[in-house]
């Protein structure tokens, strides 16, 4: 992989980090999208898609509403994709085992992203106070610049978050790659399947509409029948 590819990877992480809260929110930050594009940039789109699929549903019910901060599944998915792509270099050669490690890693570190989010939003309180001062002193032209500084804070936090996750991931992968290969090779397909299934359980348990279980079983039955008849 070239330096250009890694620069693109970093740029994509930055865009996704901004999309989460600060800019536009067209949902390129979802793990399914973020991981697939990160994988494509590194030449492993299929790995990215598989990881995005596994991670997408895990925190889908954690809504970014009001002051609630959901885990940073965006940077976790992007970092996990990069680590899965590089895993063979450190002895984790089985692709499924590498993906299982990446999913377990992302699940463990995504809640750490809440810390970064909290720090940015606390830092932005200072911008709010500076804006109030600017109004008091009639320097109103400063207001837009102060707001844009907030966007910059979110951008810096995204990249720092990615860097921290990479350091943590490499600290696990470099000394433990061969051991992870041994431990994860057999149960990897089950770990990769349990992740989205657990997300589905969480979503169905949370939906408060008429007969969620009936609807779920109907969908399950239709698909299973189709698979059997195929």
């Amino acid at each position: 992989m070239t330096l250009g590819a890694w620069c693109l990877y970093g740029g994509w992480a930055l865009l996704c980090g901004l999309d989460r809260v600060a800019v536009a929110q067209v949902q390129i930050c979802r793990p399914l999208v973020a991981a697939t594009v990160a994988g494509a940039v590194l030449g492993h789109a299929a790995t990215g898609l598989a990881l995005g699929l596994s991670l997408e549903l895990l925190w889908l019910v954690r809504l970014p509403v009001g002051v609630v901060l959901p885990p940073d599944d965006t940077q976790a998915a992007i970092a996990a994709t990069g680590l899965a792509v590089l895993a063979p270099s450190w002895g984790l050669e089985d692709p499924l085992a590498a993906r299982a490690f990446a999913v377990l890693f992302a699940a463990a570190v995504a809640p750490l992203g809440e810390v970064g989010d909290r720090l940015v939003r606390t830092a932005n309180i200072r911008l709010q106070r500076l804006a109030a001062e600017a109004v008091q002193t009639d320097r109103l032209a400063r207001l837009s610049r102060l707001h844009l500084r907030g966007v910059l804070h979110f951008a810096i936090a995204s990249l720092l978050s990615l860097l921290v996750l990479w350091v943590l991931g490499l600290a696990l992968l470099i000394p433990g790659g061969s051991w992870l290969q041994e431990v994860l090779a057999a149960p990897a397909p089950f770990i990769l399947a349990f992740c989205p299934l657990l997300g589905i359980v969480a979503i169905v348990a949370q939906v408060r509409t008429i007969g969620p279980m009936r609807l779920f079983l109907a969908g399950f039955g239709v698909m299973y029948l189709w698979i059997l008849l195929r």
Binding site: A24, L143, G150, P196, G219, V222
Partner: protein
């Protein structure tokens, strides 16, 4: 029938370009999101060019101060609210009487209901539905499914944003009633039903693929059911989902190590 006071007062007075600038700036509504005023600075950032240009200098500071406080609504319905705010501001600049409601009072009244409706529809309804729609093609290995998700969500987000903003600006206070007619709360319920149905299909596909993938270990696949039940039970007891996932993964690895030892 609409009462005369709720009918739009007059034709638009701001130029199309001025309105486009406000709408584009709303894409950065949450740019300086903070724990004290949430989106407070974002609304001011969006309105600033028009306030600076049209507000009488003696009123400008007061108008700016009004928007510097707490503001929180759903980011996708914010254009509808800000469009109406713009109309009320415009009426104030032209010293027209609306319903005696200051723009800031209007914002305080409607931001929470808009947040509730928008969050339920976009976060609770549309986003999970679109994820469920693209998951099946993604499971079949269709690499473009993430792009389809982004296109569908962006189309909905931009349509609601553009139409809402236009409607808000055109109708002013009456835009609240117009928004009610969109029936977003009902749409959210239908979206949730569709999501649950589609996720049933996704679960069936994942289990079938698992059985196929691990042909030598059908018994392992059966472990998915008790594991799912355990997961559901722990989630109901408010365990964090990542902890439940790690616990299940450790049980799997442990069971495999035990079987390998035999």
């Amino acid at each position: 029938m609409d009462t005369p006071a709720l009918v739009a007062a007059s034709a638009p007075r701001l130029s199309l370009w001025e309105r486009v600038v406000v709408w584009l700036r709303l894409l950065l509504l949450q740019g300086s999101w903070n724990f004290e005023t949430l989106q407070g600075q974002g609304v001011l950032f969006a309105l600033w060019p028009t306030l600076r240009r049209h507000c009488a200098p003696r009123h400008l500071r007061k108008a700016v101060q009004g928007y510097l406080g707490y503001f929180n609504t759903n980011p996708f319905l914010a254009p509808a609210l800000v469009g109406a705010l713009l109309r009320l501001e415009e009426d104030r600049w032209c010293e027209q009487e609306g319903m005696g409601l200051e723009p800031r009072q209007f914002a305080d009244m409607v931001m929470a209901p808009y947040a509730a409706v928008g969050d339920a529809f976009f976060w609770g309804g549309l986003r999970p539905l679109l994820v469920a729609v693209v998951l099946l093609p993604a499971l079949w290995g269709w690499i473009w499914s993430p792009l389809l998700f982004v296109l569908l969500f962006a189309a909905a987000r931009l349509t609601v944003g553009i139409v809402g903003f236009h409607q808000g600006y055109r109708l002013g206070l009456a835009s609240v009633q117009a928004l009610q007619r969109w029936r977003l709360s009902d749409a959210a319920i239908w979206a949730k039903r569709g999501t649950v149905f589609l996720l049933g299909g996704v679960a069936a596909w994942i289990l079938a693929a698992l059985v196929q993938q691990a042909q030598a270990a059908h018994a392992w696949s059966l472990a998915a059911f008790p594991a799912g039940m355990l997961g559901a039970w722990l989630l109901r007891r408010r365990w964090r989902i990542e902890l439940v996932f790690w616990l299940l993964a450790l049980l799997l690895v442990g069971a495999h190590e035990v079987m390998k030892g035999r």
